[in-house]
């Protein structure tokens, strides 16, 4: 039946092109749908939250935690409202994940607090005795990479017109302004923390990874 195409490479190429165009449209078109636009009130991540997101990626939290609540009663009972496409508009990349060795984290900011995260990341079994999550004590001593986070924010602002510095958006400003803002945000978080080393580091103008990670966790609502 397709013997004729085998003898006419030009038309064969046209056929291949049409198939790829169709598949491409199916992949690309949904991104322009109204449902994929940022939901009302969604703001881009602050620099500190982005630094926390980097920690989340670096330590591969996605290997055990998802960030996508499916529309099933059992999931919404446990994690809250099911996730909407537009909530991930400023996630580059989104961290949906597909493995739930631990619980979903898409709305963890609604039901966990700074002090809980502090206890939990230091020693997970101290708050959840059956937990198999390893401790992340190095988050308390490693410093978060605020510079890279700022670079990331500037990049998405210029490249994708992510609304930084926009009315009702997230302020970004210059590198120095952004660093000062991140430190202010970190101070607000350490006010609710107990670890003296972390408090001292922030008082000295450094930001440990745990503070950035907690800022990110609290933002997930």
């Amino acid at each position: 039946m397709f013997h004729w195409l085998e003898k006419n490479p030009f038309f064969f190429a046209v056929g291949v092109f049409l198939v790829i165009v169709f598949a491409g449209l199916i992949e690309i078109l949904p991104n322009f749908a109204e449902a994929s636009r940022p939901i009302a009130g969604l703001k881009p991540y602050t620099v500190l939250e982005l630094a926390g997101k980097e920690v989340y990626k670096k330590d591969n939290c996605i290997a055990c935690h998802s960030q996508l609540i499916r529309p099933f009663k059992s999931e919404t009972d446990r994690y809250g409202q099911y996730s909407l496409s537009g909530e991930y508009a400023y996630d580059r990349p989104f961290l949906w994940g597909s493995k739930r060795t631990g619980p979903d984290l898409h709305r963890v900011g609604n039901y966990r607090t700074t002090d809980w995260h502090e206890n939990h990341m230091w020693e997970p079994q101290s708050v959840v005795p059956q937990s198999i999550m390893p401790a992340y004590k190095h988050h308390f001593t490693n410093m978060a990479d605020i510079d890279t986070a700022y670079a990331e924010a500037v990049t998405v602002k210029k490249l994708f017109a992510t609304p930084y510095d926009a009315p009702n958006g997230t302020p970004l400003g210059t590198h120095e302004e952004a660093k000062a803002a991140a430190l202010e945000e970190a101070k607000a978080i350490t006010a609710n923390m107990k670890n003296q080393d972390v408090k001292d580091a922030v008082a000295n103008g450094q930001i440990p990874e745990i503070v950035a990670l907690i800022a990110y966790m609290n933002r997930l609502k």
């Binding site: 003898k7 609604n110 101290s126």
Partner: protein, 293 residues
Amino acid sequence: MNSLMIKALAFAVVLILATVAVVKGMKIDLSDPINLLTMLGAIGIAIITAGVTTKYIGQMKTDKSTGELVGDKWDGIGEYKNELPSGWAFSFMGVIIWALWYWIVGYPVNAYSQIGEYNEETKAFNAKYEAAFANPDQATLTAMGESVFLVQCAPCHGETADGLSGKAQDLTNRMSKEQILDVIAKGSNQLGYPMGAMPPMLAQGADADAVAAYVAGGMQGTAPAAFATCVACHGADGKGNNGAAPNIAGYDDTLVSHVLQNGKKGAIGAMPSFKTRLTPVQEKALSTYLQTL
């Protein structure tokens, strides 16, 4: 019998012997029919493997290709005409036509919504829930409260509700002396009671200390003089004047519900609001459970 068959038979015998060796070596109990069937299955697979291998290797050695060539040759290589069996071809086309009908008419692509199914499921569940727990008795409430507690509260307060050695509020006790002193020093306006904000520093120094010791001790004996300030809102028995102010003597339905609705930030740390996460029945159940502790 040619050499190929002998080799295949030898191969099958080796596989069977290996199977038997593994079964013996692992001391598998063959009186269990599942184990016996599994071993027989393994032996069967060994025999079939030998048979199929023999057949196809034999075919490769002896068979000659036959058939009608299509006209063209590509670099000297020809191609046989190899038409689809017509029954197969017609059923394939039939399936394509059926699929189009199914997409467009039978079950149109826009006829199903995942969210719609979720909404229906939730609605049906809520109706069933309301019917089942319209008038729950004390035992039902306690059991429900315990299960809600283990899911929603235990991650912070611990499974025994003791607050995991000071990481969260110890729910087996109303308040510790430090917590009371903290509230007296800072005041409180978090829970949305009708009485409104409690101003900071209503008692100071030794007075505050005496009040804190009295309240933390379960309000035994005579109240210190400074407790009179507290009585105005919290009542002489500390129970909060029927919901006007928080109960400082113990947990009651109003207190639990107000804390769940508004969240709380105190001497230990912050508790998030559980607004919309729990139904009123679940709140009542939690309060009932907490009062049994």
